[in-house]
């Protein structure tokens, strides 16, 4: 097997272009390279919009201040896809993601500047929209390394991190196999939903013939803040979510809890992280007819301020030993805040980055709504420790986990490289 040179993607591969425009692509000018793509070039030059660099030590979209919208997609590689095809796909995705996150169209030809006889390279719905803080984050699922029947399709089984494995069964699991797992994933976050959808749509198109979507999820209303500059948002239970989340401004905790360190596992993962997604359906009808007092006892915080029931304001540390006049615990022992707190989980913390979802309604006429939970952690064991601890969570009466997936998120790409290149070195 030939090892490809680590070269900067200078445009979409012919395979990637085939996905876009078919065999007659010869006339399309390829992009000017990743470095050039970084230059901010918002359409009309008027967009007052955040641009996050795509290249760096770590992938963007993790400690980046959580944007308002999400489009997440998990992919399975097509039968017959080779190691070289996989590498080429990652190079194509890197090239396209670098452009898209800079607010550019997916290629230079884009939506309207290509051949009138060819379908446009770019699908066009983001024309006129700024970058909108778009980040695109790539991950590798356990089945990329070894299929369920043990096949090493791409010669990378030996590089699989030991900890990258399907998550164990947890209380409240009602998993639907069709909304979990996946060989690859892309998390696209932006402040404009159309920009996030545009990214997933175009990246999926590039992958046609090599990989296709296994499941995907739209999210709105970030349910966590990942920066102290952000106000704490609310989830669909109406409570503030993520008050005690890991914040980018706390580099010590980020380093200890989020980034894979040298020696943690295979070298190619150093600087990366592990991504867990859990699609959590909320039984909001039952929740909505629950007394306010019980809602607060279930969460362990007040609904208005978000303060712990032991008193204080939102950011006051909860005092789990505090008792009331009658000697009762102010924060119930089965409350969510107590069971999820690092003092209950052996110090494990997660960087949460979830979003609300409402996927229409179910067959019973109830909103198919909930939280698309996303967390990043240095080791999957952190998530497992927290989730195991939540087995007796009072909140479980009102939620079901219907989707589950885990991915290894490689470190960021250099301007001369592509995402995940260390895996193939």
């Amino acid at each position: 097997m030939t090892e490809p040179e680590e070269t900067a993607p200078t445009g979409l591969s012919r395979r990637g272009l085939l996905g876009l425009v078919g065999a007659g692509a010869a006339g399309i000018a390829l992009g000017g390279g990743a470095a050039a793509a970084i230059a901010l070039n918002t359409p009309n030059g008027v967009g007052v919009s955040t641009v996050y660099p795509f290249f760096g030590d770590h992938q963007a979209g993790i400690t980046t201040p959580a944007q308002d919208r999400l489009h997440f997609a998990a992919y399975d590689l097509s039968a017959g896809t080779t190691r070289d095809d996989l590498i080429e796909l990652l190079q194509d995705w890197t090239y396209a993601a670098a452009r898209l996150t800079a607010g550019q169209e997916v290629t230079e030809g884009g939506a309207v500047d290509g051949s009138p006889l060819a379908p446009p390279d770019d699908t066009g719905e983001a024309l006129g929209l700024p970058a909108s803080g778009l980040t695109i984050t790539f991950g590798f699922g356990p089945t990329l390394f070894t299929t369920d029947d043990g096949t090493d399709r791409f010669g990378i089984a030996a590089k699989k991190p030991d900890l990258l494995a399907k998550l164990p069964r947890f209380s409240g699991d009602a998993l639907r196999p069709e909304s979990g797992g996946g060989d690859l994933c892309i998390q696209a976050c932006a402040d404009d939903p159309q920009v996030a959808v545009h990214a997933i749509r175009n990246l999926s198109r590039i992958a046609f013939g090599r990989a296709s979507i296994r499941w995907s999820q739209l999210g709105f209303g970030r349910t966590s803040s990942t920066s102290t500059a952000q106000v704490t948002p609310r989830n669909l239970f109406g409570f503030k979510d993520g008050t005690a989340n890991i914040k980018a401004e706390d580099p010590t905790t980020v380093k200890a809890q989020v980034w894979v360190a040298e020696g943690d596992g295979p070298e190619w993962m150093t600087g990366g992280s592990y991504l867990v997604t859990r699609k959590i359906r909320m039984i909001i009808e039952a929740w909505d007819r629950t007394q306010l007092q019980e809602q607060e006892n279930v969460i362990g915080r007040s609904k208005g301020e978000g303060a712990p029931l032991s008193g204080g304001r939102e950011f006051t540390e909860p005092e789990f030993a505090a008792t009331g006049a009658a000697g009762q615990e102010l924060i119930p022992a089965d409350s969510h805040v107590l069971l999820a707190h690092p003092t209950s989980t052996g110090g494990a913390q997660l960087l949460r980055r979830g979003y609300n979802f409402v996927d229409g309604n179910d067959e019973l006429g109830r909103l198919d709504a909930g939280l698309f939970f996303i967390s990043f952690q240095r080791s999957p064991e952190q998530f497992i420790a927290v989730q195991k601890n939540l087995a007796r969570d009072a909140l479980n009466e009102y939620i079901k986990h219907v989707g589950s997936a885990i991915f290894a998120v490689p470190p960021g790409a250099t301007k001369n490289g592509y995402v995940g290149s260390g895996l193939f070195a």
């Binding site: 069964r169 947890f170 209380s171 409240g172 699991d173 009602a174 998993l175 639907r176 196999p177 979990g180 039984i283 009808e285 039952a286 007819r289 629950t290 007394q291 007092q293 019980e294 006892n297 279930v298 009658a326 009762q328 119930p332 089965d334 067959e363 019973l364 006429g365 109830r366 195991k388 087995a391 007796r392 009072a394 009466e397 009102y398």
Partner: protein
Amino acid sequence: MRNRILAAAAGAGALALALTGCVPNSTAGGAALTVAITDDTCAVSEATTAAGNVTFSITNNGTDVNEFEILADDKLRIVGEKENVTPGQTVSYVAQLGPGTYYTACKFQLIGAPTGVAEFTVTGEASAVSADEQALTDQAVTNYISYIKSQVAELVPQVQAFADAYATGDDDTARSLFASARVSYERIEPTAEAFGDLDPKIDYREVDAVAEGLDWTGFHRIEKDLWPPAEGALNSDGESAFLDWAPSTDEERQAYADGLVTDVQQLSDLVNAKDFTVSLADISNGAIGLLDEVAVGKISGEEDWWSHTDLYDFYANVQGAEVAFGNVKDIAAGKGKEGAALVKDIETEFAALEGLLAQYGSLDSGFADYSTVTEAQRKELSDQVNALAEPLSNLTHTVLGLSE
């Protein structure tokens, strides 16, 4: 739901009830009625009496301890009872009864199904609902505790028979007893859940037990042996039904049967303990808690994943909710126009839900296999559960939070 009971119990101390004058003594309807009890009969001297304070002179002519009960017209809710009438003993018991249809019954050895159930009609004018809220509260609590005990008393022998059939490999008999043996349990589920570790041992589904790292025991473990999964079948969490599971050996069967009997006996010991009590909030919250059990677990068919007997549990949960509501509805109805309107709404929606469930069978004749209930029918049931649950969820506020 588990937390409702606990939270409400903690909050019960804050209950401020307006205490007003004494109980207006309505006139008694004349001489005492006599109740002649044997081990399997329960003869009341008259089948009709006038409303007011009704005196019963109860004599136990049988061979062991017995109890006399007055049931509401649902034959479930207890409106009065005299426990522990010993052989040869004659005791006097006074019940305050408004006009309506009741049932009288006895319970030999205080266990099993009621014996000698007979219709009992009370005629005349309703006396004004007692202005003494404390008296109503005490009555509601007393009667609800009696109801819980009577349900557990029915549960114990039913579980014994079911467990015996299963342990001896008489699967046809065990299958025929499974759904009915669960009915009494499902009627009082929030009470059992309040005892912490007991409900997980008796009634946990496989997926919950596995996920919490508990040994999986109880009704549903036995259910899976009796309705073994087909090859390739999935559990409710999407995992293979055969993951970490195999049909029980004879020894395991005996152990699961014994365990269930022991755990149900422990439940019986706990509710019969001297210090067992419930609060008014436990009762009203128990009503909505049972409805939420339906909305979350039964509608989806996850409860009885292998036997598809979900409609029995569904019906029993609804019955339990209605009994709990019935115990506090006089208090709610006394809370001004708002309270009266709420009670009426709840009664209307209960009737509609029961009418809907009746289309699928009854406890006596059996309910349809839930896998044959279509999505459209499930939606209709779900809509009616929601229609009832909305007003029912305001019951506790009305009972505890509104003044008259």
